[in-house]
C-alpha cells in the first residue's frame, strides 16, 4: 500500500525530449488513469515509474522512498502489458508463480496465492495450460493474475484492454472495476480510450505532448475542462468549439437542445449529416462555416438540409483563451 509522487519528471531519448516536467501526487489506493493521444508519453511515464526506463531528471518516489536509482525488482511494482507478455514456455500456473520464486516465497504460500488469484479471476480451470492455448480474454486475465499474486505496492497497467475486441473490452472493463473492490492497491492505468478512463478512474491525468493538461476526477475533467485540448479529448463526440473574437466558446453536443422559445436561438444552421443512433440522433450542422455536432432526441431532425435552431444553458458554455487555450 503506497502513494506515488512525481516531481518535475523529465525524459529525453537522446536529443528528443518526450516528457517535459511532470508533477503528480497519487494517494495510497488511488486508481489513476493516464489518458492522451498516441505518442504523448503515457507509456514512457509508466515505464519510468516501473523502472524500465531511466529518469532523465526529476524524482519519483513510491511509498515515500525515492526510487530513481532502484531496479524494477526492488520497487515492488507489478505491471500488465498491452500484449500481456506471458512467458510462452511456461504454464499459466508457472507464469503466475514465476516472480514469487525470486522473492523467497514458500512453495505452499505460492500455491495458496496462485489459487486465490485464479479464483478471483475465474481461471482456475486454465492453470495447467500454456499461454498459446488461451484466448485473448483469458490471456488478459492471466496477465492480471500474475500481477495480483505478487501483492505489490503498485499496479501499473499499460493499455491492457486494447488488444481485445469491443465487446470483450467492455466486459473486462467491468471486471477490472469489480476487481478494484476486492484488491485495493494503488494503480496507474494507461489508456487512450476516454470511456475506459471515465469509468475506471478515481482521478484522470490528461497528457498531451509530454505535459499534463489537467488532473481531476472524471466529473471535473468533463464539467470544467482546463484547456481546449481537454475539452476536445474528453467526451464523444468532442465538445464543439466556436471562435468568437479572442475566445473559443465550447459547448458539448449533449448540452445543445432544440430551440423552442421566442428569443433568438443560441445557434442555428443547416444540418449536413444526420446519424440516428436509436436512443438519440447526432446532427452535424454548418454554423457560419464551423462544424457543430448536436446530440438531439430521435426524430427531431430527419434528413440533411433542414434548418435547425438550437439553444444552450449558459451554465454549460465554456470559454477558452484563443491563444493559450486555457480556460477563462
Amino acid at each position: 500500500m503506497a502513494g506515488i509522487t512525481l516531481r518535475a519528471v523529465r525524459k529525453s531519448f537522446g536529443e528528443v525530449a518526450v516528457v517535459h516536467g511532470v508533477d503528480l501526487e497519487i494517494a495510497d489506493r488511488e486508481f489513476v488513469v493516464f489518458v492522451g493521444p498516441s505518442g504523448c508519453g503515457k507509456s514512457t511515464l509508466l515505464r519510468m515509474i516501473a523502472g524500465l526506463e531511466d529518469i532523465t531528471s526529476g524524482e519519483i518516489s513510491i511509498d515515500g522512498r525515492v526510487v530513481n536509482e532502484l531496479d524494477p525488482k526492488d520497487r515492488d511494482v507489478a505491471m500488465v502489458f498491452q500484449d500481456y507478455a506471458l512467458y510462452p514456455h511456461m504454464t499459466v500456473y508457472e507464469n503466475m508463480a514465476f516472480s514469487m520464486r525470486y522473492r523467497g516465497v514458500a512453495k505452499d504460500e505460492i500455491r495458496r496465492r496462485v489459487g486465490h488469484a485464479a479464483k478471483i479471476l475465474d481461471i482456475e480451470s486454465l492453470v495447467a495450460r500454456m499461454p498459446r492455448q488461451l484466448s485473448g480474454g483469458q490471456r488478459q486475465r492471466v496477465a492480471m493474475g500474475r500481477a495480483i499474486v505478487r501483492d505489490p505496492k503498485v499496479f501499473l497497467f499499460d493499455e491492457p484492454l486494447s488488444n481485445l475486441d469491443a465487446k470483450l473490452r467492455v466486459q473486462m472493463r467491468t471486471e477490472i472495476k469489480r476487481l478494484r473492490e476486492r484488491v485495493a492497491t494503488t494503480t496507474i492505468y494507461v489508456t487512450h480510450d476516454q470511456v475506459e478512463a471515465m469509468t475506471l478512474a478515481d482521478r484522470i491525468v490528461i497528457l498531451n505532448h509530454g505535459r499534463i493538461e489537467q488532473i481531476g476526477t472524471p466529473e471535473e475533467v468533463y464539467d470544467t475542462p482546463a484547456t481546449v485540448f481537454v475539452a476536445g479529448f474528453i467526451g464523444a463526440p468532442p465538445m464543439n468549439l466556436l471562435p468568437q473574437q479572442d475566445v473559443l466558446m465550447g459547448v458539448r453536443p449533449e448540452h445543445l437542445v432544440w430551440h423552442s422559445g421566442s428569443e433568438a436561438p443560441f445557434l442555428s444552421g443547416r444540418a449536413t449529416v444526420v446519424e440516428p443512433l436509436g436512443s438519440d440522433t447526432l446532427v452535424s450542422l454548418d454554423v457560419a462555416g464551423t462544424q457543430v455536432i448536436a446530440r438531439l432526441p430521435p426524430k427531431l431532425v430527419r434528413r440533411a438540409g433542414e434548418e435547425v435552431a438550437l439553444a444552450a444553458d449558459p451554465a454549460n458554455i465554456h470559454y477558452f483563451d484563443r491563444t493559450t487555450g486555457n480556460r477563462r
Binding site: 531496479d71 524494477p72 525488482k73 505491471m79 502489458f81 500484449d83 507478455a85 510462452p88 516472480s99 525470486y102
Partner: protein, 270 residues
C-alpha cells in the same frame, strides 16, 4: 481442386537419400568385412560380417584415450560456446556506444581464415601455458562469431515486453538470459551445439599443432596416426571411421528438428 499426387516427389527424395547413404553403407560394410575396397565386382551384401575390426581398434590402439580426449575437448568447446555466445549475443541486442563498431569488427574477423591466425593463436596458447592440454585444444573453439549472431538474431525475436515483464518480476540480466531467452531460443542453442560439435570433433590442424604427446591426441589425429602405423588396415580403418562418426550422428539425430529450424529461422517469421 485435386492435389498433384505425391509419389513422384517421394520417389525422387528416396532416390536422392539412397545416393547420399551409399557411402555410409559402404563404410559400414567394409568395417564389418575388411574386404578390399578395390575388389571388382564390388559386393553389395557383406559376406561373413564380424566385429573383429572394432575389437582391434578398441584394444590395439589407444582408441578409448582418443575418444576421451575428443569428448572432453568437444564438451569444453560446447560449454564455452554457449556461455560466451549467449553473453555476447545478448550484449549486442542492447544499445551502447560503439556497438556498430563491435559488430563490424566481429563481421570482419569472420573473413580471416583460421590458418592465418594459427601463429598468433599458438603464441597466445603458449603464453597461457596451456599447450598440450585439453583447454589448449579447445581454446580457439570456445566462441564462434557466426553463432554469436545466431544468438543475437534469436534473442532479438523475443518480444521486448517479455524481458520487461521478467525485469519487473525481479530477474537480473543473467536470469533473464537463462530463464527467458534461452528457453525461447532452443533452435539457436541446438544449432550452436551441432556446429560446435562438428567443428571440434573434426578439428585436425589445431590439435595437431598444440598437442605434443600421443595421450593428448584427439580422434582425427589418432586416425591419421593409425593410417601411418598399421598395414592392411582397411577393415580396422573403416571401423575407426564408424566409431568417429557415431557420436556426431547421434547428436544430430537428437537435435535435427531444432537445428533445421535454427538455420532457417529468420527466413520464415515465427
Amino acid at each position: 481442386m485435386r492435389r498433384a499426387p505425391s509419389w513422384p516427389r517421394h520417389a525422387i527424395m528416396i532416390a536422392v537419400s539412397v545416393l547420399m547413404l551409399i557411402p555410409f553403407y559402404w563404410v559400414l560394410k567394409t568395417s564389418l568385412t575388411g574386404e578390399n575396397i578395390y575388389a571388382y565386382p564390388p559386393r553389395i551384401v557383406p559376406v561373413d560380417p564380424h566385429l573383429y575390426n572394432y575389437v582391434d581398434v578398441w584394444y590395439l590402439i589407444p582408441f578409448p584415450r582418443y575418444l576421451l580426449n575428443s569428448l572432453i575437448v568437444t564438451a569444453m568447446a560446447i560449454c564455452g560456446n554457449l556461455l560466451f555466445n549467449t553473453a555476447a549475443g545478448y550484449a549486442l541486442t542492447k544499445q551502447f556506444p560503439g556497438r556498430r563498431w563491435i559488430v563490424l569488427l566481429l563481421l570482419s574477423c569472420m573473413l580471416i581464415p583460421f590458418q592465418a591466425t594459427i601463429i598468433p593463436a599458438y603464441l597466445i596458447t603458449a603464453q597461457l601455458g596451456v599447450l598440450n592440454t585439453h583447454l589448449g585444444i579447445a581454446l580457439p573453439l570456445l566462441s564462434t562469431i557466426i553463432c554469436i549472431f545466431i544468438f543475437k538474431a534469436s534473442f532479438e525475436s523475443v518480444p521486448r515486453s517479455l524481458i520487461d515483464a521478467a525485469r519487473v518480476d525481479g530477474l537480473g540480466e543473467w536470469r533473464i538470459v537463462v530463464r527467458i531467452l534461452l528457453p525461447l531460443s532452443k533452435s539457436a542453442v541446438a544449432t550452436n551445439v551441432i556446429l560446435t560439435f562438428i567443428w571440434s570433433w573434426n578439428a585436425f590442424m589445431w590439435p595437431l599443432i598444440v598437442t605434443r604427446s600421443p595421450e593428448m591426441q584427439t580422434l582425427p589425429l589418432g586416425l591419421a596416426r593409425f593410417l601411418s602405423v598399421l598395414e592392411d588396415t582397411t577393415g580396422a580403418l573403416y571401423a575407426f571411421v564408424v566409431l568417429v562418426l557415431v557420436p556426431g550422428l547421434a547428436i544430430f539425430l537428437m537435435a535435427q528438428k531444432e537445428f533445421i529450424r535454427g538455420l532457417t529461422s529468420g527466413a520464415t517469421k515465427g
